[in-house]
Subunit: 357 residues, 2 copies
């Protein structure tokens, strides 16, 4: 394990660089040291301009190409779970952030340092606080304060995707339904009005609901509507006067946020719905010329992205975006998180081919 | 307000004595001082023997009558809510325990002191910890350790009943139903199995349930089956793998505890039911000769008791028992608790008539 105080060496291979980044703890909110190191390392390359805002670093080429593409990744990780420093077993690099997403960041840094004359101008974005509340998200802060730094014709978010292109992302809408009744002692229940019993009808609608499947740009999206929390009751011997149900709707990117909300209100017609959280979906945009060129270069069969990712932020600003990274999405946030070294090398090689074809 | 350190004077009227008892704080677990005072006051009367176990005091006449009746009441109150010392407004005595049930205890003490030659032998029981967990209940401790002290042909529990005879009490059975599923991210809900959605069927059965009404000894009992608590869920974006429903069944005294449990298992056939709490019902026993004589003496139209009370403990030991006390059951445990002074006098007068007829 190299010391966090040593400068980052971007000439080592992607696996070694990933290990170096993993050994540089950067839990959300504590990214300053890593952002400093990334900034310092990139400033050593004269073919890049480097800008910084908070713990967000943006490096760009300025070759006057007709198109500009963006490679973006977040510097933060979820809290460490006894899985730092990293260690290698065969082809696997183990440790917090190996998949989500320091392997992707390592590929970005390698390409930034070594692809001196790309065929498109390239913007490399490194940002903080992706793993926490949306208001703290560094990419969101950059779009709010320096949208020009993020301008481009196409973006690749290097979130773990198993080295497969994942198009767009589903939207997410969460809402609370509060059922009310009248409290009474359980011994005289007919004097009350049981709020928990009223949940029967709400839950029946959820059970009877058939989630939609829809194909967009050749990718199949699967929606889902679920109660994710329920709670009600005062005491074991009291007829409850309140029951709260939290509902999560994940919707395909052919619905706008507004349409998704209208649909939810239709399903729960007759109930008051309080929206708790709303994130728009992102269309895959795979029919865009920039995306087509990217798909041709990296190969493989693209698939739909179900989880919400920051591609939706690019999409909302008119930049088509896909997820493509070496990490394994199923290992993200897990104690046993790891990443295949060969996947890191493969993703770097394919992106290099795309940027230098 | 008289000092708690002064001995209890049982020659004052019932309302004054109630005020004296209210001003003697005795929240559950803190009854020692009041039990001491009650014991000392009763020992002054040579027509009574007095026994003590813990903070439970039992005073008895031994006149060799053919029948023995029991008058029982608890010394403890729920926590004081800024409503001690007591104060009088017109006919109302305000304060913690005025209704539940120091007014009943005052009547017991007055009768014990002044009815020197009753027509039945009389046992006066004063016990602790009625307002807390069943295992701490003083009457239960007496039945377990000194059942001979509680022997009798008929018992009157002086719980608040609005000066109306309330027969028997309903039983109470509480159970937990735990629904399980498989956790998954809400973005890929089809990989999970939503435990909250399974509550729909359980709640439907509750909504469809028609509680029984049954007449026993001329009194109508109304059963009730309710969910009193529900909770489930892990996080807003996780398909939940567990949902728990707490069910309260209040049943009429023509069902034994075992029959009540069988019924509950029938209603929730297919679900695992974990019994959390079980208290048997008590038959009103109004057809018993001792009860008939009591009813004739105190008058009024008896009604069914819905809430569970310690009459069930007497009933379980073969002693028919009713509730009859001056307090207002709807004011029990409330900050604004109060009791009518004329009801205290009326209940004392009627019981005196019964015991001296």
């Amino acid at each position: 394990m190299s010391s966090p105080n040593q400068p980052l060496d971007l000439t080592v291979d992607g696996g070694t660089l990933t290990a170096r980044l993993v050994d540089f703890p950067s839990v959300s909110g504590e990214e300053t040291a890593l952002a400093d190191a990334v900034e310092a390392a990139l400033r050593a390359y004269p073919h890049l301009t480097v800008d910084r805002f908070g713990n967000n670093v943006v490096a760009r080429t300025h070759l006057g190409r007709s198109q500009r593409v963006v490679l973006a990744g977040h510097l933060d990780t979820v809290p460490i779970a006894d899985n730092v420093p990293s260690h290698v077993e065969g082809d696997l690099l183990h440790g917090c952030g190996t998949s989500d997403m320091k392997s992707g960041v390592a590929v970005q840094l390698r390409l930034a340092a070594t692809v001196v004359e790309p065929n498109h101008d390239v913007t490399y974005v490194f940002y903080d606080c992706e793993e926490v509340e949306a208001e703290r998200n560094g990419l969101g802060h950059l779009f709010a304060t320096h949208p020009d730094w993020l301008a481009g014709d196409f973006a690749v978010l290097m979130e773990p995707s198993g080295a497969v292109v994942e198009g767009g992302c589903q939207g997410s809408l969460r809402a609370d339904i509060t059922l009310t009744g009248v409290r009474a002692h359980a011994a005289r229940s007919w004097l009350g009005d049981n709020a928990i019993h009223k949940a029967a009808e709400v839950l029946r609608r959820l059970v009877d609901y058939t989630p939609r499947r829809v194909v967009i740009d050749g990718l199949e999206y699967r929606e889902g509507l679920n109660a994710t929390r329920i709670d009600g009751g005062v005491a074991g011997n009291v007829i409850p006067d309140e029951c709260r149900i939290h509902v999560a709707f994940r919707f395909a990117p052919d619905r706008s946020l507004e349409q998704a909300e209208d649909h939810l209100r239709e399903v729960f017609d007759g109930y008051q719905l309080d929206i708790a959280d709303a994130s728009p979906a992102a269309l895959p945009g795979l029919s865009q010329p920039a995306a087509q060129a990217f798909l041709a270069a990296v190969g493989g069969e693209p698939r739909a992205k179900f989880g919400w990712t920051d591609v939706a932020r690019f999409s909302a600003h008119g930049v088509p975006a896909v997820n493509y990274g070496p990490g394994d999405p199923n290992l993200a946030h897990k104690r046993e998180e790891h990443c295949s070294l060969s996947a890191i090398a493969e993703v770097e090689e394919r992106l290099r081919a795309w940027l230098t074809a």
